[in-house]
Symmetry: C2
Subunit: 597 residues, 2 copies
C-alpha cells in the first residue's frame, strides 16, 4: 500500500479516486483550500492536481473529513446497526464511538459483539466502548451484570476501545470498590474512560477526573462546559433527541480551548435523524448559534480523532483515511457525497449500500420473558389513604413527586375520577415475575395502557395505564412480539416490534419511523398528553439515576436518597390540600401544577 500511495502522490500513476475542482476544510490551518484530493488504497495520497481512475466533480462544494460521533448509543435510534449506518452515513458521519450500554444491559457482552458484527455489514466504522454500568444501579434487575473483574478482563482484549460513560459518579467519589476496579482495569489496559457527570464541579470534578475519566457529555450550560474543558476534560457537545446542548454549549468554545470539544448525539431516535439529521444537524445548529463553521468542522473531526486516538482520521491530508463528507456549503451542511476509505457510500441523502442480510443472532432475539402476568399482577394494595406519586414532566427527564390521596376498593386502588395512572415495571429478562408498582400523574391517558420494553437502563417492560386488564394485555402483547411498544385500549391493540433485544427494530429506517409515529398517535388517541413523546417519556421513568422519583422492577425509588421508597405516604401535614396533591417536590422547583416544569 505504501508503494502505491507514494506513486499516486507523485503523479506516477492515476489515483483510484480523485475529488476534483472543489474545496476542502484544512483542519490543521482552519482554512478552506482548493485542490484535487487524490485517493489510493482508501487513503488520501496527495492534494494538488491529480488524475484518477474515478473522478468526482465537487465543484462549488466543500469536502470535510468524515464526521465522527464521539458518543452514541446506537440502540437509541431503535434501528439495527445496518439501518443506522444507512441513515447516518448519507449525512456525513463515517465513524462513531458507540457505547452499547442499552443492549449490554439486556444481552450482556454478546449484545456488544452483535453491534460490532452487524456494523461490519456496512461501511460505518464503529469503535465500541465497554459499558461501565451494567446494571446501572443495584436497585434493578437487568439482563446482565458486568463486575469490576469482568470489566478489567474485557478491557485487556481488543474488542473494546475504552470504558463507556462512567455514570456512577457517586461510586467514584465514594470509592466504591467495584467502580474503582473498573477504572483500574481501564488504566491497566491503557484505555480511555468516558464520563457522565452532570453538574459535577470543583473538587468533586477534580476527583472524578483524577480517577481517570476523560470526557463528559452532560454539560447543560456554558459555565459547566468551560470548567470541564479547563480541567482537562474533552467536552462533548450533544445533539440528541431529548437532550440538545449544542446551541447553548458551543458558547463555551474559544480559540484557546477549541481542541477540547467534540460533537455527539448520545441518544437520537430514528425519527429525528430522518427528519433533522445526525451530526450534520449538530453542525448546522452550532453554526446557527454563531460558532465558526470551520471550528464546527474541526470539532466534529480532528478533535474527536485526537481525543480517541484515532490515528489517520479527522483530517483530509496525505496518509489519512479517505473518510470524506462533501457538503454543499458550511452553513446548511447538506451532504452531497459521503466517501468511506475512498469508496463512495452515499449520494444526496441516499446510501449506496444495502442493509443486506441483517445479522440477527439468537442472543438478541426473543429477549422478553415476563413470567405469569395477569390483570391481578397490577393490583396495588395501600395501607393508608395516601401515596407517593411520580409526576411526569414534559421536556424533562427529571420527574417531580407528589403525595396524593388515593381511594382503595377490593384490595386495589381506585383511580376513577382522578388523573392518576398506574405505572408498573415488569422484569423481562429472566421471567422472574418481579414487578414494581407505582402511581404517576401528569400524562393524561384513560381507558387503556401503553407499554414498552425500552426502559432505561435495565430495559425491563414498563407499562402505564388506568386499568389492570389493558395493562396486562399490553405487557402480554410485548411478550408476544418479542419486545417493542404497544398501545392497548378501548378494544384495540396496536404494537410495533423491537425485535432486536426489545430495543431495536430490524425494519428499514423510514418504515420504522413512520410506524413509530403512528403508534404515538394511537397513544395520543387514548388521551396521552401531546406535550410528551409517549414512549420516550415512559422509557425514562425507570431510570434510577435521574431525579427524583422513579420506578424499577423492585419498587419505587427515591433518586435523591438513592434508596427505595414506600408507595404508601404519610398524610400531608398542611390542611385543606389533601384532595389534589398536598405536597409537591421535584427538581422543577416544586411546581404544584402537574405538567409544569
Amino acid at each position: 500500500m505504501i508503494e502505491r500511495l507514494i506513486d499516486v502522490a507523485l503523479g506516477r500513476t492515476p489515483a483510484d479516486v480523485v475529488l476534483k475542482n472543489g474545496t476542502f476544510v484544512n483542519v490543521f490551518t482552519g482554512q478552506v483550500q482548493r485542490g484535487d484530493i487524490a485517493i489510493a488504497c482508501g487513503k488520501v495520497a496527495g492534494i494538488g492536481a491529480y488524475e484518477g481512475e474515478r473522478e468526482y466533480d465537487i465543484r462549488g462544494k466543500v469536502a470535510v473529513p468524515g464526521l465522527i460521533d464521539a458518543h452514541v448509543h446506537i440502540e437509541s435510534a431503535q434501528l439495527s446497526p445496518e439501518e443506522f449506518a444507512r441513515l447516518v452515513m448519507p449525512r456525513g458521519t463515517t465513524t462513531v464511538i458507540a457505547d452499547p450500554h442499552e443492549i449490554v444491559n439486556v444481552c450482556g457482552v454478546d449484545g456488544a459483539q452483535y453491534i460490532a458484527r452487524a456494523a461490519q455489514n456496512t461501511p460505518l466504522e464503529v469503535k465500541l466502548m465497554l459499558p461501565s454500568c451494567v446494571p446501572a444501579t443495584p436497585f434493578e434487575t437487568s439482563g446482565a451484570c458486568l463486575t469490576g473483574e469482568q470489566t478489567a478482563a474485557l478491557l485487556q482484549g481488543d474488542a473494546f476501545f475504552g470504558l463507556g460513560e462512567f455514570m456512577n459518579a457517586p461510586g467514584v467519589l465514594g470509592k466504591d470498590a467495584e467502580a474503582l476496579r473498573k477504572l483500574e482495569g481501564a488504566r491497566a489496559a491503557g484505555k480511555m474512560v468516558d464520563g457522565h457527570a452532570p453538574g459535577l464541579e470543583g473538587a468533586e470534578l477534580d476527583a472524578y477526573i483524577a480517577a481517570g475519566i476523560s470526557t463528559d457529555h452532560e454539560c447543560t450550560c456554558v459555565a459547566e462546559a468551560a470548567e470541564k474543558a479547563a480541567r482537562g476534560m474533552y467536552v462533548h457537545l450533544r445533539e440528541g433527541s431529548a437532550a440538545r446542548n449544542v446551541a447553548e454549549n458551543c458558547g463555551a468554545v474559544t480559540a484557546a480551548n477549541l481542541r477540547r470539544f467534540l460533537f455527539c448525539t448520545d441518544d437520537r431516535h430514528a425519527a429525528d435523524i430522518c427528519a433533522h439529521g445526525h451530526l450534520d444537524a449538530a453542525l448546522r445548529t452550532a453554526v446557527q448559534a454563531g460558532l465558526s463553521p470551520v471550528w464546527a468542522v474541526i470539532i466534529a473531526t480532528l478533535n474527536a480523532a485526537e481525543c480517541y486516538g484515532l490515528r489517520g482520521k479527522g483530517a483530509i491530508a496525505p496518509g489519512c483515511d479517505a473518510d470524506i463528507a462533501v457538503f454543499d456549503d458550511l452553513e446548511n451542511f447538506h451532504c452531497a457525497f459521503t466517501f468511506k476509505k475512498g469508496e463512495l457510500v452515499a449520494i444526496e441523502g441516499m446510501p449506496l449500500f444495502g442493509a443486506g442480510q441483517k445479522y440477527l443472532p439468537d442472543c438478541v432475539r426473543d429477549t422478553v420473558h415476563v413470567g405469569g402476568i395477569s390483570p391481578d399482577s397490577f393490583r396495588i394494595s395501600l395501607k393508608g389513604g395516601y401515596a407517593n406519586v411520580i409526576r411526569v414532566q414534559p421536556g424533562s427527564l427529571v420527574t417531580g413527586r407528589s403525595v396524593r390521596a388515593v381511594a382503595s376498593a377490593d384490595g386495589d386502588v381506585d383511580l376513577r375520577g382522578t388523573d392518576l395512572l398506574k405505572l408498573a415495571v415488569v422484569e423481562r429478562h429472566r421471567g422472574s415475575g418481579n414487578i414494581g408498582l407505582g402511581l404517576a400523574e401528569g400524562c393524561g391517558l384513560w381507558g387503556g395502557a401503553i407499554a414498552t420494553s425500552v426502559a432505561h437502563d435495565s430495559h425491563n417492560v414498563i407499562v402505564l395505564g388506568d386499568n389492570n386488564a389493558d395493562m396486562a394485555a399490553a405487557v402480554q402483547e410485548l411478550a408476544r412480539i418479542g419486545g417493542g411498544m404497544a398501545v392497548v385500549g378501548r378494544g384495540r391493540t396496536a404494537s410495533l416490534p423491537l425485535d432486536i433485544a426489545g430495543l431495536m427494530s430490524s425494519l428499514p429506517a423510514e418504515e420504522y419511523a413512520a410506524r413509530a409515529a403512528a403508534l404515538d398517535e394511537a397513544a395520543y388517541e387514548l388521551g396521552f398528553s401531546r406535550e410528551f413523546s409517549p414512549f420516550m417519556a415512559l422509557s425514562f421513568l425507570a431510570l434510577p439515576v435521574i431525579p427524583s422519583l422513579k420506578l424499577t422492577d423492585r419498587g419505587l425509588f427515591d433518586v435523591e436518597k438513592f434508596d427505595f421508597c414506600p408507595l404508601d405516604a404519610d398524610p400531608p401535614q398542611e390542611a385543606g390540600a389533601a384532595d389534589s396533591g398536598a405536597r409537591s417536590e421535584g427538581d422543577a422547583g416544586g411546581a404544584e401544577e402537574p405538567g409544569e416544569e
Copy 2:
C-alpha cells in the same frame, strides 16, 4: 492509587505535595490561573485550596507542565544519560523523545538499551525511538546495521516508542524496499514515525507523509514550516547547537495551527546547555521572537504529549503526571523548581539527584578499533595535478567544493605553502583498516592534526591535518583513550576521552564542558579558524546526507550525485584560475573565497 487521588482531590486527606500560592499555565484555556496544586501518587489530584505533607511556596512564580523535548539525540550533548538528565532537568525538561541514532550506529540496539537503562538511574523520562537509518547510507561502514526486517521486529516490542527520524527521503520517494519495509513495520506495530525532510515540498512532501511519516524538525523557514503543518505534519521548532530554527520558524505559528508545533533540541552540546539552557532556551528564544509565552508553553508541553500520545502528560490538571517546572516568569524562563511525578528533582539550576554509579556496560566501552595505522596510511597519490577539494564553511553543515591544483612529491601530495589540509576517515568499528582520504580547505591549522571519533553518522574516526605523522598520532591517541577528541602538533598531544561509544563522556557536565573548551583552544592554537567550533565542524565532514562533498571511510562522496567521486579532478577549463581554486561549487552559492558562505 485511584482511591488516594480521590481522597486528596476531595480534601479528605492531605496531599503528598502541594505547590502553594503560585500561578500555573492552564494549557487547555491558555490562561495563567491561581490555585494550589495538590499532588498524590505522582499525579495531580486537584487544583484549588489544599494542604499537603510537603508544601512548596511558589508565590510570584508560575508553574508549567514539565517540558518535553520532542526530538533529541542525547549523544550529541556528549554526556552520559545520567549527566544529561542532571543538566536538563534543572532547566525544566522532564521528558524527552530520544532517538539514539548515534550510539546505535556504533553499538547497535545494545546502544539504545544502554541509553534507556542509564536514564533509569535518573528521574528523566526517556521515550526511545528506534533509529531508522543504521547505517545512514550504504556508502560508509558503521558499527551496526539494522535491516528492514530487524526494524519491523524491534518495533513490535515495547522497547521502542516509534521509528526515529526517517532521513532517507530519497529512499521513500524511490520506493527503496528496505526503507518501505521499515515504514510498513511501524504501521503494523501501530507506532509513529518521525521525519527528517529538509526542503521537501509539494507532491514529494505529500508522498513522504502518505508513506506514514508524521513529523519534521528540519524546516529552515516560515513557509516550509507552515506548509508542513498544513499538510498534517507536526513541526518541531529546533534549538540545537548548530541548527537553531526557533526564532525564525516560530513565525509560522498561528492560532489555527498552534497545535501542530513542538519544540526540540535535536543536537545540543553540553557546553550550550550549560551556558544557554535546554528547552528553556528555546522558550526564551521563541518569546523574544514574539511568540505568545503561553503558546510557547503549550508547544513545549501539551502539543508534544498529543503528538506522541503521552497520555497524562503535557498539562497541570487532575489525573495528569505531576511533572512540573516552576519558572520565575514566562519571559526569562528561569527555572526555580522542577518536579518529576511529584518529587522535587531540582532547585535553582541544581539537580537534587546524583549521577550515582553510572551504568557503563561493556557494549559501549572500548569501541575504537582502527587497525594498523601509521603515517604512511595518510599518503595520497594523485594521478594528475588537480584534486576535488572539500571546502569547509563556517556556520553551515553544507560544504562547498573546489578543484585545486595540487603538487605531489614521493608518491604523496605536497601541501606546503597552501591552505590545503588532508582529511581522512578511518574505520574504527571493526579494525578493518579502511581509510578514506581527501583534501580540505577553509579551516586553517598548520603543524598538526585534530581528530575525533564523533563523525556523523557512522562515527568512524575523522582526522584533519597538514602532516601524516601528526594525523597518525592523533588517530592512535583516540584508539588509546577509547575514543574522544585529540589535538596533536608541535610536539604536544591533548585529548579528551569520549569513553562511552567514542561519543559521550562519563565526566560530570561542567567538567566535560570546560575540558572540551580547552581542547577547542588547543586546536585554535594550531591555527584552526576561530570561525569554527573545530570538533563539531570536523564531525559533520563525514555525513554523506548533507551537501555537497563529504568523506567516508570508503572515499570521497558527492552528495548531489549520491555516489562516490574520485579525488583526482580534471584540470579546470577556465584559464588563469588554476592556482587558487579554479572552480568552486556549493550550496553557498559558489563563493570562491574559502571561508565565505
